[in-house]
Symmetry: none
Subunit: 201 residues, 4 copies
């Protein structure tokens, strides 16, 4: 049915797989993994029930593939933009800007990632942590430790600080107003992360 005559066989395979991952994202984002309906996913993608099993051996493995995809995309998106700045302070700002932009451009994927991070499924959690390892390392080394070395940041526990930056990021970008837009401004959050609440003496 969705057969593009000009595409090679392999292209078609990849396209179908991609289409399935996209509709899976929609379904998982709105219903969560356990309540998601595999039938909806293939139907929405324009395929029959069974097709999904030609691409993924199970519902769970579909989710795992989706997690991998989301994690890679999310990480790439942020890493690229953070590294385009040289100054650690600028990198913090870039981190929140890029992070929020990703959420705005990929709301379904972001919702899935966040609900997994804060959810109860240990396998999914492990998997998403793996895919975010590069992002964590970036924050630890290229943001926090780099900032300490540069004399911009306090000599703080870099790993814990990375965790707090991630918490701040994931928490604030999941607070949406009634239109589904992120409630916060990335600059605001970056300022909070950099300067905190207190007035400087």
């Amino acid at each position: 049915m969705p057969r593009l005559p000009t595409a090679t066989k392999e292209d078609t395979l990849i396209e179908t797989r991609q289409r399935l991952l996209e509709t899976a994202a929609a379904e998982f984002a709105s219903n969560g993994f356990a309540s998601a309906n595999i039938n909806h996913i293939s139907t929405l993608a324009g395929y029959a029930k069974g097709t999904i099993y030609n691409y993924f051996p199970s519902k769970r493995s579909l989710m795992l593939a989706l997690i991998d995809e989301i994690g890679a995309k999310h990480t790439n998106f942020i890493v690229t933009q953070v590294m385009s700045a040289d100054d650690p302070v600028q990198r913090v700002r870039q981190f929140f800007h890029a992070g929020f932009a990703f959420v705005e451009q990929n709301p379904l994927q972001a919702r899935i990632a966040i609900s997994i991070v804060y959810g109860h499924d240990e396998e999914f959690k492990q998997r998403i942590y793996q895919t975010y390892e590069r992002l964590f390392n970036l924050i630890i080394q290229d943001i926090v430790e780099s900032g300490i070395t540069h004399g911009d940041f306090k000599t703080i526990d870099s790993s814990a600080t990375a965790g707090m930056l991630m918490s701040l990021y994931l928490g604030s970008c999941s607070q949406l107003d009634s239109d589904g837009k992120i409630f916060f401004d990335p600059g605001q959050v970056a300022a909070f992360a950099l300067e905190g609440l207190q007035l400087r003496g």
Copy 2:
């Protein structure tokens, strides 16, 4: 089986309900709402399948009752301790101390609360936001705005700041090490919230 001959009828009712809520917390915390098994809950509580329906009309309403309980307990726990300090800066520290203590003492309840806040079920989300309204108001008024008035904090958007403090709290207290202990130290997080990353000039 759980027939306490010395207890009055009403006491028994309340005890049974409480027992069911506790085992429900365990089940919901480890499996999430959709994957939780109502039979497990009653069986773990020492009752037969049907008993739960003498107390709650449905699985969903059991969850809602649990949310109400968790929200009230969580809010009370934190509000009481925050208000025991007078100084806004101290209150921020108290907020994280009390918050982390609650999570340590009620890990199941905390997991449920966090997974709902960052999850996909809109009804549960709304319900938990309701129960946390008092806590939000506390952060806005008695921490942030009070700190601004006292000249301790910058003149920041108090509502957004409250959201960031909550994000920081929920995010950091849900990062556990391999023993299930919270990875962070509340003082550390409070310091981050108060002072941020940057060195003061």
Copy 3:
């Protein structure tokens, strides 16, 4: 609760039983036996769940007791009025008049009786046929055969004719208009039974 202080113990027993039978009639009439809820019955009667089992060993036996009561009442009601007429033709008219009057005065009981007669439960059917035996005999002997003997009626199969009269009765009295009133007039039905459709040559 429904405790009349002036009544003797036995009276109370009988009254309670009666009250239970009445509310049972309401429940069985509107929901049918299988869908009837035993709890509704006792609650509507003003008693607790368990009380019904002090009077009837099971839901089924409650229905059987109700069938007995309905059958006896129905039979008595019609037999008495039919026998008050001497002429077989008049008796036919009385049969329909009395029968329709019973239905009007006891709509719930009538509904139950009719749904059992045309229903699928063999035990209930047998039981209601037993309680209607006297009524059948009345129609056969004191209406049809008596009419044949008197020279009023054709020499027809009296047993089959009794069945047709009952069919006509039960069928027409269960056709209700939108107000729940019987759609037919007993005189009309009696005339049909006596004279049929055809014009007399």
Copy 4:
């Protein structure tokens, strides 16, 4: 298991549906709707539990589909045969002959129809009345009113008379002897309907 390799897909679908409707008829006829077991139906039809839900969204909708089928078949069967006679008196006889023949050939379906007409489920009742509308109109116009016009029948209320004919039909065809055969002879019932009990002067 019921994989007919020679049949087209659509044929298989229709056959399976038909098979399910037939076994459903057996189950509903012997146990009534509320006590019928959906698993029995599919198992008896040679399918697994879930298969029925590929064809009917619920037990209730299965019954509704069955009602539609029964009503259509029943109506067609009688209408065709009644209209094959021209004389209203003959049509009355045909009505009972055809009606009784239908019951003999479709005992399960007939039982279901009758128990619904005289049962307590309003939705089922409404549905079956809809499917019998054509039959009612036939009796009113093409039997009774036609008979009045021809000068064969008295000038009676045609709608009420139709109701009485239906009552007589449904009531008498549901009286079975111990072998499950209809107790009455259609000619006998037709004679009763045409001439009544009384001797003609």
